[in-house]
């Protein structure tokens, strides 16, 4: 077994979590792990061979012979992008751990590390079992975090809902994955082996496996109508959890579809195309309107993250290079921007008495830095150029039209869907700017004693903005990683 850089990246958060459980200084260790992991992630980004389309930094350790399951790590471009995203967001998330919490600090830090570490592990492993298992690692920490440290009166309901919902979703997913493995005849959970063995599956089988995967992964990505867990949970969760969950963990579902369903189940895509198109419009348009009518800033952000997942599905449906690149960029960009927004939302929550948009106003006067960065986050989120989200959205839209017009010179179903989905661009501008206008601008005076973000807490926010800008101005930094 070769020990590679990736092993360290995967294991560091988990080992740190154990160290904290054994009584180490919780907050310091968590921060240290975040910084170290980000450095390692940077090294990964630097040393990643952009010419090699295969899995790099690979190493595996068998844990079960039949069926073959190994603790195998390795990243290709897709995995590298998401690992990079995870380490960045995790760094910023551990920095949002408050100095004092009501309850046990070690529990708080361990949970954050497990959620983040789980996400990293899920993206870095090439074994289907660990792919699934790492994602599930977040389930209990999330449950506890929302329940113990969450905000709002209904946090208990919310914690239940996210837990049960994701639990059910992942069980459906498990069924689908197992079926996929069985249908491929691979007897192995190694993803590359699986993909190789599972080419040209029977169409009927593909259809049903795909449905299971769609429901399973879809629940995890909050695909309409399996979305109702997401926004309330993000609103109620402690800031680092919202950041990690909305920013990183949620991407797992799409990652899974890209990783497995796209290469293995093309006919599954074809069979359910109409359904997916309708559902993704549900995300973009329906949830878009739901977002407009939100009264609380945190919920609004939560719903906006649900809404944007529709675009990612749209990009996937084209099944071409442009769409693939667009989706990956979308995952990266959305992860950073929503993490930024939730981090800012957390800062805001400490400063203002309520999250109700109508009751706020003029915060920019007292907290200009917060306002500026929030504005950047909002701009990123509504897809303005300069931020990575824009490039992703444009590529996703273009992907639908890449193949030219449909038969007979008309538009294909995908293209019509895409055109409707473009209206989401308007919708997101409406709710985001409206909220920004009400919260930060205007003549209302903010609460007495409202302060700006403390200097030492600023750099994680800046880091996120810089990353967004870098990927937005030079999307090729990210796209180059992809084959």
């Amino acid at each position: 077994m070769d020990i590679t850089l990736l092993h360290f990246i995967v294991c560091l958060p988990l080992v740190t979590a154990v160290a904290i459980l054994c009584g180490g200084p919780a907050r310091q260790l968590a921060r240290g792990a975040g910084v170290f992991n980000a450095l390692l992630g940077g090294a990964l980004f630097y040393y990643f061979d952009r010419e090699d389309p295969g899995f790099q930094f690979a190493g595996s350790f068998e844990v079960l012979a039949s069926p073959s399951i190994s603790f195998a790590v390795g990243v290709d471009g897709l995995g590298a992008v998401l690992v990079l995203l995870s380490v960045i967001v995790m760094l910023c998330a551990v920095w949002q751990i408050p100095r004092k919490v009501e309850g046990r600090m070690d529990l708080y830090c361990v949970s954050v590390l497990l959620i983040g570490g789980g996400a990293i592990g899920a993206f870095a492993t090439t074994d289907l079992f660990f792919f699934y298992a790492f994602h599930e690692l977040a389930l209990i920490p999330t449950f506890l975090m929302i329940g113990i440290f969450g905000h709002g009166p209904d946090r208990s309901t919310v914690a239940w809902r996210i837990t049960i919902y994701l639990g059910v979703g992942s069980l459906v997913l498990l069924a689908g994955l197992l079926w996929l493995v069985h249908a491929s005849g691979a007897e192995s959970f190694d993803i590359p082996t699986l993909i190789e063995a599972g080419q040209n599956l029977d169409a009927e089988v593909q259809k049903w496996i795909f449905l299971l995967l769609l429901i399973g992964f879809g629940t995890l990505v909050s695909l309409f109508p399996f979305h109702s867990w997401a926004a309330p949970a993000y609103a109620a969760a402690p800031t680092p959890v919202s950041m990690l969950h909305a920013g990183v963990l949620k991407k797992f579902g799409l990652y899974g579809l890209l990783r497995l369903a796209v290469p293995m189940l093309p006919e599954g895509f074809a069979a359910w195309e109409t359904l997916i198109l309708v559902l993704l419009l549900g995300n973009v348009i329906f949830i878009g309107f739901v977002t407009i009518s939100q009264r609380y800033l945190d919920r609004l952000l939560g719903y906006s993250s649900v809404m944007h997942m529709g675009y990612a599905f749209l990009g996937m449906m084209a099944l071409n290079e442009v769409g693939y690149n667009g989706v990956v960029l979308m995952l990266f960009a959305h992860g950073l921007s929503i993490a930024l927004l939730f981090a800012l939302c957390g800062h805001l929550r400490e400063r203002v008495p309520t999250m109700e948009i109508r009751e706020l106003g003029g915060v920019a006067k007292a907290a200009p830095f917060l306002a500026v960065v929030f504005g950047m986050g909002a701009f990123a989120s509504i897809g303005l150029p300069g931020f990575a989200n824009f490039a992703a959205e444009v590529m996703i839209f273009l992907s639908a039209f890449k193949g030219g017009l449909g038969d007979g010179g008309g538009l294909t179903a995908l293209q019509i869907t895409c055109i409707i989905a473009v209206w989401g661009v308007v919708i997101s501008a409406v709710y985001m700017l409206r909220a920004y206008r009400n919260v930060f601008q205007g003549e209302r005076e903010p609460e007495e004693g409202t302060t700006d973000v403390a200097h030492e807490s600023r750099w994680p926010l800046v880091l996120l903005v810089v990353a967004l800008l870098a990927a937005g101005l030079f999307p090729n930094l990210i796209l180059n990683l992809l084959p």
Binding site: V290, N325, N476
Partner: protein, 607 residues
Amino acid sequence: MLAFITLLSPLIAAAVIVVGLLRAPGAASKLSVLSAIIGFVCSLLMLLGMGGSVEPFVWAKAGSFSLTIGLLSDDYLAQGMLFIVTFVGLLVHLFSLGYMKDDPGKARYFAGLSLFMFSMTGIVLADNFAMMFIFWELVGVSSYLLIGHWYKKDSAADAANKAFMVNRIGDFGYLVGILLLFAITGSLGFEEIRNAIETNPPAQGMMIAATLCIFCGAVGKSAQFPLHVWLPDAMEGPTPVSALIHAATMVAAGVYMMVRVIFLVEAAPIAGEVIAYVGGITALLAALMATQQDDIKKVLAYSTLSQLGYMVMAVGLVAKHPGSEYAGQAAFFHLYTHAFFKALLFLGSGAIIYACHHEQNIWKMGGLFRRMPKVSITFAIGTAALMGVPFVTAGFWSKEVILGEAYDTPVLFWIGVGTAALTAFYMTRLFVVVFFGESRSDHASHAKDPGPIMTIPLLVLAVPSVIAGFGFVAGLLHIHPPHHAGDHAPFIIGASLGALTLGAALGFFLYSGKKKEPIGFPLFRDKFYLDEIYIGMVRVCQDAVAYLAKAVDQIVVDSLAVLGTARITRGLGNLFRFSQVGNLQGYAFLFGGGVLVVMILLFSFVR
């Protein structure tokens, strides 16, 4: 190379200001002005043919497909537009040094201005739709930032939002249009699209749809009816911004874009007709609204709308004259002249407002002619150009060309003439009320000419407002206005002269010496109630739908589907649970029953 410098220098300036100079407004403003100077010099050099060509930059790559940033450094249209932009931009920068001297957000303001220059330059130089869309959105952003510069004012924040939203609606169409064109032709570059359409003409229906969608972008950005509502509100921004963005350059970007892709209009004549009528309607309605405004900047804003209507009309009319070598030049010609005199008028109004301590109501001014001679004279030149005073003003020439284009279409022609008359009327009204008569407020009576930093740009702009219409001057920018009028020229000139005289005379006699509005026409004053109608539409189509969606989400998805499932599960759980009766005999009974059921089941499997 020059093109790159032009493009990047304002970006660098903006970035440096945001990163390091927010606390040093003096340095920030100087840096910004410097970048504007660099841009102007470069554009001048490019105009002189020293541009050279620039390798496109691959911005985003996806396998074989890529989005590129390519600069049109040797394109006449781009060079001309670039000159206008950088020239007006430079002057506005200079003017701002004075106008924004004491503003607490000065550094932020100049950063925004530089960002705008960057974006606008990008639009001008774009060689493909993807790049143009990027910068298209960026000008939207910078416009949002600059309109909302005084974000602490509710009205400014609201206006910025409104401008952004309305533009987004236009951008929706624009993006869809780009996507359609991409599907039709398989590429995004202007040249490639043109070639593809010419070699392999696509179905007319799809072409019309694509063209109209592209035009939507122009409708939003150039504030055409029905998306014109944001522009008057945008006057909440600092006046130099209004001059630069909301009069001379950004709002003209829509027209510029349409001229850039004029081959689309030619390929889809029906779309052209629609475009022309949209332009005409805008011109007329805006002029009507302008007649009853009291805010000096609002009057100018509506006049801008009206003039943009002319330009769009000219774009649409291209379809009436197929095969013309200089298609679209009529619109561009008017764009060009209008940029100068409208910037002049706005800066002039800025000077007046500055002098009157930010008083914008024309009924509180008056008698300024004596107190502010430099401003007054330049303002008069601008007004004359806008009204189209024959032969000596730039506006006359360009308007005449457009009317000539419209001659074949009587409805549009008479709309044009009517608008000209209305323009003369409301500009006369404005001039008379502001400069003549007695001062109607303290501030007005103490007004005086501002310092040279603000007057010099006015003087500089007054020159092209006069001479830009002459053919040889336009030729320097490679503008070749077509002359479709031919034999009808005298008639056209006569009509516009008549309109001018009628409007100016009416305006003079009605408003000379008046202290308050002599005629009340609420329909025009309240902008045909379009804002109210739109607010109603937003309430119904958006807020009500959003509320409905939320209700559906909560009731159907949440309560029925999710909680319902949970309840059913729990109910079943309780049902099963209550089979656990606690009585031993009950268990024995159930046990025996279970045995029987199992037995019967099993025997039933045996065939």
